[in-house]
Amino acid sequence: MLSVRDLNVSYGLRPALERVSFGVEAGRLVGVVGPNGAGKSTLVKAIMGVVPRRSGAVLLEGEPLEKVRERVAYIPQRAGIDWDFPALVREVVAMGCVPRMGWLARPARADRARVEAAIERVGLTDLAHRRIGELSGGQQQRAFIARALVQQARLFLFDEPFAGVDQYTERAILGIFEQLRDAGCALLIVNHDLGDVVRRYDDLLILRGEVVAYGPREDVFTQANLNRAYLGPVAAV
């Protein structure tokens, strides 16, 4: 479904990602792990094209991703958002409708129904009328997942979805991920955590400026690969 070919990204002269190539099939839950500075967030942003690629191609179902952005849901790290923004949880979730809507279009009844269904699926029905900033970290994360659900995407890119959420929310989020995977979507999840969560992924992409290892979890989650990724100073990345 997703095909990344020979992706190179640099910040100024400093290379951040080099010769990254991999593919993700439909119905796979892929974890992206690696040390700080390994380029995990950069990878997701470069796939989305929000940081410039120096070279390389990103194809979604055979087409350049730029042309089919509405088929991709990107859930950035929470830190980039102004939590004082005057928007209700329901409004934030409804933003997911916009990419598939035309200019001047107003939300249809079906859109509104999808929004309510997504809010219910992430368990925020009781908080839908709250201002987004009043929610806890885990609840905010669930609101953004609901926004992604509303987008009706085929590919989901999550940047640190488990940062600062409690284990109950973590489990709930993982449950939603697995439902999406079983529905034939592909998910790419950036994760700092090498704990329990890793065992829920189908595939792992171990990253350190370049692909250290990629494949089914049981094959690549080895001490040798982790040592290659994590031990020693993170140089040149």
């Binding site: 730029e66 830190a79 928007a87």
Partner: protein, 349 residues
Amino acid sequence: MQELWQSLVGFVNLWVEPLGYEFMVRALISAVLVGSLCAVMGSYLVVRRLSLLGLVVSNSVVPGIAVAFLLYVNIFVGGFISGILATVGLGWLQGKTRIKEDAAMGVVLSTFFGLGILLITKIQAERKVNLNNFLFGNILGINASDLITSAGIAAVVLLAVWALYKEFLLLSFDAQWAAAAGLPTRALHYAMMALTALTVVASMQAVGVALTIALMVIPAATASLLTNRLATMMGLSVGLGVTSSVVGLYLSYYLNLSSGPTITLVSALLFAAVVLAGPLLLKVPTGSFLGRLKGMVVLEGASGAVPPSEPATPAPQPAAPAGKPAMRIVRDSDGRLSLQPDQPSGVER
């Protein structure tokens, strides 16, 4: 009873009587137009934390006005072009150099304003005309053709905001996500700035370029203290802006005051009233009420405690496999990152 009636009639007359003058009718229409227009665009500036950019745009129209006057071109066009040039110049500075946003704004703002003042003083000396009205506003002196132009501009801006509401909402809330979702965020940002420049040129004769920023930012900031929705904030902001400009207009008529500063001070008074009385009205602690202004809302205090919907104790979790790093990055309520051992008791909120 009779006395009460008399004083009521007197009060109404205070508002109605001046409308016998045609200039006062024009001023009133202008006050309503400018008050609502500035409030709508100002709401975007406030929620996007771009108030200072509003100031850059408004002060940067001055050289355009001067040049337009020199070349006998429409001053609205001149002011608009110069405001756009400043915005584009600012974007270029930020994109191509390492100058920080606020410093870049300071550079652009002072350069344009300095050039504008230089040109205006020169023109005033040579042509014996008074361009002060553009700087400080003279709502009582607006002529019919300028009023019609302002109304036309207001119609264009409000129509554009209506048409682009959902796109502007996405841009303002989460620009990075909006870009990833395929929205042309750059074009939308410049469209918003162009609408801001139009707002400034439509308002400059009423409140003056030096103080349009007040009518854009103060009502919107006041409204932001009172609501949780952008649409509601815009509505409240329009109410506050129109009230400020109409009351300011009458004060400037009766007390013979300069209209721009008077309108500014009325809106500042309304702001002060909401700051002081708001916590009492909404029954929330002052700290969390005002927190919205500086961007640091205390979560628990904002509108009653947020009930924890998750169970307090986590389900038991198997220990991490030996030999593998079992640390997790935790983001605390202030957004700071810290590294914590991944233990079953580690429930972060």
